[in-house]
């Protein structure tokens, strides 16, 4: 982990209230799929954790949705500005040796999965992607996943694009039977997947103060041993499916 001054190379709206930002660190660290960065914004006390969606030689991308004052301020940041960022944080998705894998992303849970798909495709793994959004306007990255050579299916809650309903509805409709999943998205989606699948990884969110494992703000319990806990910012955000308890 480093504290970096990252230069903003771009910051554009790619879907409804959803922005893609390119950041160039002073010294590019190794960032693995599923890791996140923690961004300081002027006028806000706590940093904002955002997943890295894609990594290049000397820069990386994030995709974020404007949901409150902090992400609104982030959306106003201009090309050329410098941001104070802790990077990278958290335990990544392991890119296991697999013949095929199912990637399931919901809303702003989609971003970290793009780098996952990229790295699996680099290893020739067959990648099937199911993306869930509220509506067509909120959708992003369908084409980008396709360009990697993934099979991509989309579900929207209002049926304005793809399957009407959740990612599980899309999986059923298209008879997708791949049993190893890599997923990130809203809690309810993760909980449903946790009950349906037994192999793969889920990535979680939590309100964080430090993002580096000291404040104990972001903990979750082990699914079996209620004395055992994990820090989502440190042992997570990625956990093997079934490892983490959903009530907390």
């Amino acid at each position: 982990m480093i504290v970096s001054k990252d230069a903003v190379l771009g910051n554009v709206e790619i879907a409804k209230d959803t922005f893609e930002m390119i950041l160039r660190p002073q010294h590019m660290p190794t960032i693995l799929p599923g890791q996140f960065v923690n961004i300081k914004l002027d006028g806000f006390m706590l940093r904002r954790p955002i997943s890295v969606s894609s990594v290049n030689h000397n820069c990386y991308k994030i995709i974020y949705k404007v949901v409150g004052d902090g992400t609104k301020a982030l959306s106003k940041v201009k090309k050329g500005q410098i941001l104070d960022v802790l990077e990278p944080l958290g335990t990544p998705f392991p890119i296991d040796d697999l013949d095929e894998v199912l990637i399931i992303g919901g809303g702003v849970g989609v971003p970290p999965l793009f780098e996952v798909a990229k790295q699996f495709r680099d290893k020739q793994t067959k990648v099937t992607v199911v993306l869930g959004f509220n509506d067509k306007e909120s959708m992003f990255y369908e084409d980008d996943f396709a360009f990697l050579g993934c099979d991509v299916y989309v579900a929207t809650m209002d049926g304005s694009y793809g399957t009407k309903g959740t990612v599980l509805d899309a999986i059923a409709e298209h008879n997708i039977t791949i049993d190893t999943i890599y997923s990130c998205g809203p809690m309810r989606m993760l909980e449903a997947l946790n009950q349906t699948y037994t192999k793969g990884y889920l990535s979680f969110e939590a309100r964080m103060a430090c993002g580096i494992g000291t404040c104990m703000g972001c903990v979750c319990k082990d699914s079996k041993d209620k004395q055992l806990y994990y820090r989502i910012c440190k042992e997570g955000p990625v956990f093997p499916i079934g490892k983490v308890a959903f009530e907390c």
Binding site: M1, V3, A209, T214, M216, G217, C248
Partner: protein, 301 residues
Amino acid sequence: MLDIKLPGLDLKNPIMPASGCFGFGREYAELYDLSILGGIAIKSATIEPRFGNPTPRIAETPSGMLNAIGLQNPGVDKIIETELPFLKQYDTQILANVAGASEEDYIEVIKRLNDCPEVHAYELNISCPNVKHGGIGLGSDPILAANITRMAKAVATKPVWVKLSPNVTNIVEIAKAVEEAGADGLVLINTLLGMRLDLHSAKPIIANTTGGLSGPAIKPIAIRMVYQVYQAVDVPIIGVGGITCAEDVLEFLYAGASAVQVGMYNFVDPYICPKIIEQLPTVLKKYGCKSVKDAIGRSHV
């Protein structure tokens, strides 16, 4: 110029991370050498391991934050077994923060830590607002506060500092009661009880309903309390609450603190403690102080 000798704590500089804002130092040890710190107030230790409160435990506020961790910690035995040996490698002073659900708990934790040479002094947390049957009652009543202090002093083989709650009508009364009961020093302040509501659900953002407010927002209250208590007691004071820079440290020294703790700002800037230690000599000089000792209590002369 920066050194200061306090009960149990022979500090090379007056800067230490505050309890609960630095864990047991492991994460920060990856970033810098902990030996540069004056001391470290480690996370509250309780007899049993504690998971703490349900999440969310964190909320942002204007110039501050709320937390309701609920004293999550692995329990004193585990701390003795794995954390203190880790901290031993660093040349710094360890202030062991002690908490519990009953007076007996506190005493038992102290007894177990008495034999640990890594611990230089105790910090009785009688002020955590996030434990139900716990500290908050003790910290808001002078008789109870004096009582637990007396009990702690009776068993402790190391100096006892008492960390007070700001959620009281009269901080001076509590401070004097605790001093009279034998406290070797006072730590001021813990967090103020606060709350935030989510506008969508109308429910508190913090699962535990209320949380402890810390950060720059509370600094004026902390400064006021250190100032008032300094005039009323003879034991030294460690100041804490909203420190973000060396200038803030100087303000606490002027008010009467002999050393300070940095809390939530470690989360904002993980290098804040080394930065402050580096800048402090310049800032002392800028405002005409020859040393830390020279600055302590300057507002009162």
